[in-house]
Subunit: 244 residues, 2 copies
Amino acid sequence: MIEVVFAKLEQFTPLTAEDKDALRAAVTTIEAFAPRQDIVSEGARPDGVHLLLEGWAGRYKTLEDGARHTMAFLIPGDLCDVQITLLDVMDHSIGALSSCRVATFGRETLATLMGENERLGAALMWATLVDEAILREWLVNLGGRKADRRLAHLLCEMLLRTQAVGQSANGKFEVPLTQEQLADSLGMSPVHVNRTLQDLRARQLIRWEGKHVRIEDVEQLMAFAGFDPTYLHQVRSRTDRCDD
Amino acid sequence: MIEVVFAKLEQFTPLTAEDKDALRAAVTTIEAFAPRQDIVSEGARPDGVHLLLEGWAGRYKTLEDGARHTMAFLIPGDLCDVQITLLDVMDHSIGALSSCRVATFGRETLATLMGENERLGAALMWATLVDEAILREWLVNLGGRKADRRLAHLLCEMLLRTQAVGQSANGKFEVPLTQEQLADSLGMSPVHVNRTLQDLRARQLIRWEGKHVRIEDVEQLMAFAGFDPTYLHQVRSRTDRCDD
DNA sequence: CGCACCGTTGAAAATGGTCAACTAGGGTGG
DNA sequence: CCACCCTAGTTGACCATTTTCAACGGTGCG
């Protein structure tokens, strides 16, 4: 199950069997989380580094008025908090959006591992830099694009990211989110997300079946969204793979 | 002139005279940039790490339609690209917003320095983590707050950040930006920035004199904006200082 | 069966964008 | 020194997008 993180990291550089064993050995616990449950809470000083194995989670803050804003979607293979824990307190929370399984690494274990194993260290560093690049793109997406392009852009990103860890096939992937959770990340109301999704469906850009999205013509959706995949820094290109 | 970065880093931890000398010695060049000139361009692979000494710069991307979105304001003492250059290509640009002076560190010089000097390494790491925290807060600001609160929130941040490097006194600081540049960072039109500024002035929350902003009652502005300074992770509190 | 959650719809209202014009100030060339 | 021009800030009127409120239908589950 931890294999998913290998797929993630190997977008950047191939890992040896020893690298993988070392990572496997660094895992201290594996826990399950229910939807809406916090994996790491604001104000806490977590003891370990969390790796998402199954399900989706979100990085979020709660505003004065009680509204929630999601700053990142975390999918299987994503590390939640490699660096952040170096600061005194978490300035945001990480919460499960669907049912999740989460592995925890000991903080020091991982730190020494990154120090000793240069390839692994670089791969983990690359992963956090990509997360930051995604954050920047989200800011641009929110600040500069209208609702329909914005949603389309998010879906393009989801396609490429799920593809990279073998969670999509033939342009079809699972989005285990409610429209409200999507709304919280896009800075729009749930109602408008609903209408915008309908609009994208009407334009034949996407197909939505239950919790699954299918994108027939990726080129067309990317053109509509103004999507440029450079920011994902997926060095080694990857073809679709089936879920295992 | 490089002293400004000491003020910045000492928000996190005090530096010794040797630390400061080491940093000073790592500087290879100091350059001037005119407004609208790029300091680092998208697509480039910069050779050094840039430190802003004077003036303001912005991290930005250009959208499909030619619009520009600013993802961060950089003020004196800020490092532009400590980590980003580890990736293959810059996925965004850094441009001067006012007249700037910029110091450049040799990439390797700084890397070995961070490796050898633990205190300096930690301070620089802290600085980049804070930059990331600011990015997250901007995302929330953009996604979750209406125009007036959003602008007010940005001004609160600017006050605290300029204060921290001795660039503000008695709630008054310079904002060397046009309303259009503000608009590019807030995801709103220049016209609406103008009207929103007038609104804040009418509410007596801010005073705007030329390129200078004065905030009489910080508490009130923060309350209006829903501003919580935690995300700036200013460990060591600092009082106002005069420009030198 | 009934409750809770989610997606969906309609209509009214608010927020912010666009367009166009006008002003004020600073610099430049005649 | 003045005319000119460019930029930045400002204003008004109109329009587009998005939010809000309220209601309804389906579905899964205790």
